[in-house]
Amino acid sequence: MTSDRDRFDQIPKNSGRERISNTNLLLIITICTFVGMYVLAMLIWGGGFVNPQQFIDIFNNNAFLIVIACGLTVVMISGGIDISVGGITALVTMICVVYLDDHGGSVIGSLGLALGIGIAFGLIQGVLISYLEIQPFIVTLAGMFFAKGMTTVVSAVPRTASQETFVALKQYRIILQGIGSYGKAGNFIPARIELGVIVAIAVVLLIFVLLKWTRFGRNLYAVGGNSQSALMLGINVKRTRFYSYLLCGLLSGIGGYVYLLHTGAGNASNATAAEMQAIASAIIGGTLLTGGVGNVIGTLFGVLSLKTISNIVIASGLREPYWQSITTGLMLTFFILLQSAVLALRENRGLKLLPKWMRPRSGEDG
């Protein structure tokens, strides 16, 4: 029951600068953690971490994850969730490979197919969620089941694309002159970047611009923050939600194609648990599942942090596979608790987290 007057008094008056918004604060924490982690790894283990190629390989191997995590960030900002992204990725890889090899398809055609599948999923899921108001979890769960099931219907065995143009595209590497490492024989090996990384970076920048400087982006934050007041402001809440799922579907299609460009194989087990990794990346990057707060740059760093921690775990000699998911879990715990604490302090309800005897005496007890 704080009045407006009280709220006004709580704003610190001595600082002339604006307060950092929640979005930016969480973003800064994520970037600092990532940089700190990487520098620490370089100092302690050196070796691979100093090699620029290993840093670029994080991008090479996870370009698809960056793309789908961007889509998920958009949906999460609007207050929804989409767990069908991994399934769509697998379906796109499989259909594209079958189209390229068995039906004599062209690269352009397969790309169109990938985008079409993504848009189709986004369209149906978006209509069901925003216009029929069915819970997003159920709809996208069914979407995931459907996509995974269809992947095995299209082909039960893993397939590898052998169409020439596609293989040439897949093996194309952008060579960075001047950045690289010295091989054992003392020869200079320049760093190589895959095509998918360019796509991923372009997607991140595009979504960043979309969220920051367009009406759709603004509406998205408003809808996620408080859909009631967004409605009062005259924002078309349903259409905004619908577009967010459409965009996420489209990005899953692109993500699927990027995955295919990296591995060149269609397989039902492609991108297993990618949806959870994407959600985890978005959370580490400072996106709140409650909606209204988030940033794709943070998501990018979320993916990088998630993968760097796996590299560190391997480098520190814990080679058994279970350590990776345990450390990922620990890292998630850390970031989730951090977010919760930061936001609680911001909203001045941090004191409530403390036991009663630790709270200051003055002030009301909520």
């Binding site: 069915i134 159920i138 769960l141 979407g143 459907f146 219907v153 879990g329």
Partner: protein, 352 residues
């Protein structure tokens, strides 16, 4: 009569019962003998019942138990626990570990089960604390255990997939000599009755709903909302432990990677099909249990139709979407409006 019908169509059980009826009718049209029960003698000489009904009821046991816990968590915390499969894997691993280090007798099985319950409750309390004290969205809070859980299960048994064999475990997993009904079905019945009695004779159900409907007013009325949420997560932990123990006894080994894989998704679906709002508040346990049987009946039907096991997921997805679209309030309102308009038109025609 008309009133009773209206009352029935407004009850939350109408969606799951309608779905179940649809599947039954579909099966009867497809194959009249689908629900035939036969009495056979199994390999250890028991007279047992077998047939599609039994395999549906038997196969859905773990799901039904988890759906009960999931309903309570959904009601109190307005979110879902996606770590139940991982928690069941951890509990199952503890169960197997205790069994393997001792001679398997009935008391040892009981101790092993209690140990797995305690471990699962600790993990449930962890999830519950994140949700209730730190106010993290349940799906995000349980994402931690979802990612790390199966690895913890792997670590408990030192990375192996050990087998446990004992006729006593066979009794739990399949049949008790002399009783023709599979034991998991009996466990589900006993457990549901127990939970129903607890909800009936204590304030647990009322308080859980109060917390889910309006947390603030529940607190102002003197309900410890934090405790209620943690309690519901711990109860789900117990459910995971039971499901894990049943599954281990059924197959006689533990594979932490595949044990009850993807069951969290099915459990949430069972809650939704059962007519419960995933946004918390009022709940109906019976609906969730029926929802679990709907899912299993659907799976068995698809298998019986010779749908390849890999495509079952896709078919399931289509059916689920159909069920939730029919059950969605918007579609219902639209249908009622359409009916009214048609009705009005016919009235107008007769008037003119």
């Amino acid at each position: 009569m008309d009133n009773a019908f209206k009352k029935f169509t407004r009850s939350p059980l109408v969606v799951p019962l309608f779905a179940l009826l649809l599947i039954i009718v579909f099966n009867l049209i497809r194959d009249v003998g689908f629900f035939e029960l036969t009495v056979t003698t199994n390999n250890i000489g028991n007279t047992v019942l077998s047939g599609n009904i039994i395999s549906i009821l038997n196969g859905a046991s773990e799901l039904a138990i988890l759906a009960i816990g999931m309903t309570l968590v959904t009601a109190s915390s307005k979110g879902q626990d996606i770590s139940v499969g991982a928690a069941a894997a951890i509990a199952g691993s503890v169960f197997v570990r205790v069994l393997r280090e001792n001679e398997i007798t009935m008391p040892v099985i009981l101790i092993a089960f209690l140990a797995s319950c305690v471990v699962a409750m600790i993990f449930g309390a962890f999830n519950g604390t994140l949700v209730a004290v730190f106010r993290i969205q349940p799906m995000i809070a349980t994402l931690i255990l979802f990612t790390a859980g199966r690895s913890i299960a792997y670590w408990i048994n030192g990375g192996a997939t050990p087998t446990v064999e004992s006729p006593l475990l066979g009794n739990i997993g399949s049949f008790i000599p002399g009783i023709p009904i599979p034991t998991p079905i009996l466990i589900v019945i006993v457990f549901s009755v127990l939970v129903a009695l607890i909800l009936r004779f204590t304030n647990l159900g009322l308080y859980t709903q109060a917390v889910g409907i309006n947390e603030k007013s529940a607190r102002l009325n003197g309900i410890n909302t934090v405790l209620m949420k943690i309690l519901s997560f711990m109860l789900l932990g117990v459910c995971s432990a039971i499901a894990g123990a049943i599954n281990v006894s059924r197959i006689g080994l533990i594979n932490h990677e595949t044990l009850l894989m993807d069951i969290e998704m099915d459990a949430i679906l069972a809650v939704a099909i059962g007519g419960n709002a995933l946004s918390g508040g009022k709940f109906s346990l019976a609906g969730s249990v029926i929802g679990a049987y709907v899912i299993q009946a659907l799976t068995i039907t698809l298998y019986a139709m010779k749908v390849p096991s890999t495509a079952v997921k896709a078919c399931k997805a289509v059916v689920i979407i159909a069920i939730v679209v029919i059950g969605s309030p918007i579609v219902k309102a639209y249908a009622i409006e359409l009916r009214n308009r048609l009705f009005q038109k016919s009235v107008n025609v007769t008037e003119s």
